[in-house]
Amino acid sequence: MTTLQSAVMIGLAVLATQLTRWIPFLLFRRKTPPVIAYLGSVLPSAIWGMLVIYCFRNGTLVAGSNGMPEILASAVTVGLQAWKRNLAISIAGGTLCYMALVQLFFPISG
C-alpha cells in the first residue's frame, strides 16, 4: 500500500470516529427532546455495566488459569470500592493485585 492509500484509510477511520462523537450534538442542536434527555440521564449506569463486560470480552490473559487473576483482582477492586468508596484506592489496589498475581503466581511468558 502507498503512503497516500494508508492516509486515505486512516482519514476515513477518523471521519467515522468523529461522526460517532458529533451525531448526537448535530441532531439535537436546539433542544434535547424529552425521550433523549431521559436516555441521557439513565444511560450512564447502563454504560458502566456495558464497559465492564467490554473490558473482559477476551477472557483471561493467562492460559490455563481459568481467569483466576482477573476474578481475584476484580473482587479486590469491587471490595475496596464498597469499603472505602474511593476510586483511586480501588483502581490502584485492583491493579497492583493483578500485577502481583500475573508476575508472581500465574506467570505469562513474555
Binding site: M1, Q5, S6, M9, I10, L12, A13, V14, L15, A16, T17, Q18, T20, R21, W22, I23, P24, F25, T32, V35, I36, A37, Y38, L39, G40, S41, V42, L43, P44, S45, A46, I47, W48, G49, M50, L51, V52, Y54, C55, F56, R57, E70, S74, T77, V78, L80, Q81, A82, R85, L87, A88, S90, I91, A92, G94, T95, Y98, M99, A100, Q103
Partner: protein, 236 residues
C-alpha cells in the same frame, strides 16, 4: 492569594485523570511499540493517536494498513467499533450545551476515559465546570499521544516489568460501576447494562456483541421509561 478558577480546574482535572495517566501510559506505550514492530516510523502512530484518537480502532487500523487498500472497510469498521460513543454524546448533550468555544474540542475528544470521568457528573469543588471538562479532555489526549510517542521511539529498551498493569482500565470501569451502584436508588440500568452486554457477548461473540447490546439497552431503558422517570426524577 486564592487560585484562579482556571488553575483550580486544571489541578482538579489532573487529580481526576491520574488513573488514566497510568492506563494510557501503558496502552499508548504498547500501541507505539506495536506500530514500531510493524515497521512504521514514529510519525505514523503519533499522527494516528492525534487524529483517530480511539485506542482500539488505532490497533485495528495498524493491522489494516499493513494489508490491502480497503477504504470502505476502514470507514465501516470505524463506525461499528466506536458506535458506543453515540451514547456518550447523548449523555453529555445538556452538560456540553453551554460550553461555547470549548465545545468542538470537547466533542472531538469524547473518548471512553474522558466520559468515564465526566459522565459521573461530579465537578470538584472550586473548579469551573467548563474548564474542568476541557482540561480532563486535554490531559487524557496528552497522556495518550505522549505515551504513544515514547513507545514508538524508545519502546524497545524499557527496564522494568509492567506485566499486568493493563488491568488499570478494567479496574477503572469496575470501580466506577460500583460507585454508580452505591449512589443510585434502583439498579435497572446497571443490571441491564451488565446483563444484556454479557448475554450479547455469549450469543454474538466478541466482534459483534457491542452493537446488539446497545440496541437492547436502549429498548430496555425505553420500556422502563415511566417507572424510571418517576423513580429518579433527577439527572443521573
Amino acid at each position: 492569594m486564592t487560585d484562579h478558577p482556571v488553575a483550580t480546574s486544571a489541578k482538579a482535572a489532573f487529580r481526576s485523570t491520574l488513573p488514566i495517566l497510568v492506563g494510557f501510559g501503558f496502552c499508548g506505550f504498547s500501541y507505539g511499540l506495536y506500530m514500531h514492530s510493524l515497521g512504521f516510523e514514529p510519525v505514523f502512530p503519533i499522527l494516528m493517536a492525534l487524529t483517530i484518537f480511539a485506542g482500539s480502532l488505532e490497533f485495528i487500523m495498524a493491522s489494516m494498513i499493513t494489508g490491502a487498500f480497503a477504504p470502505l472497510t476502514a470507514f465501516v469498521v470505524g463506525l461499528v467499533v466506536n458506535a458506543r460513543h453515540l451514547f456518550y454524546g447523548i449523555a453529555m448533550l445538556d452538560r456540553y450545551r453551554d460550553t461555547g468555544a470549548l465545545k468542538p474540542y470537547l466533542i472531538y475528544g469524547l473518548i471512553d476515559e474522558t466520559f468515564s470521568i465526566l459522565g459521573m457528573g461530579r465537578v470538584p469543588a472550586g473548579a469551573d465546570r467548563r474548564w474542568y471538562y476541557f482540561f480532563v479532555t486535554l490531559f487524557n489526549e496528552a497522556y495518550w499521544v505522549l505515551s504513544t510517542a515514547v513507545g514508538a521511539m524508545f519502546g524497545e529498551d524499557m527496564p522494568f516489568d509492567t506485566r499486568g498493569i493493563e488491568f488499570v482500565m478494567p479496574a477503572l470501569f469496575l470501580a466506577i460501576f460500583v460507585s454508580s451502584w452505591q449512589q443510585e436508588r434502583q439498579h435497572v440500568g446497571s443490571l441491564g447494562g451488565l446483563g444484556i452486554t454479557l448475554g450479547c457477548l455469549l450469543a454474538f461473540g466478541t466482534s459483534h456483541f457491542l452493537l446488539a447490546a446497545m440496541v437492547f439497552i436502549v429498548l430496555l431503558l425505553l420500556l422502563f421509561r415511566k417507572k424510571l422517570s418517576t423513580m429518579t426524577g433527577e439527572k443521573a
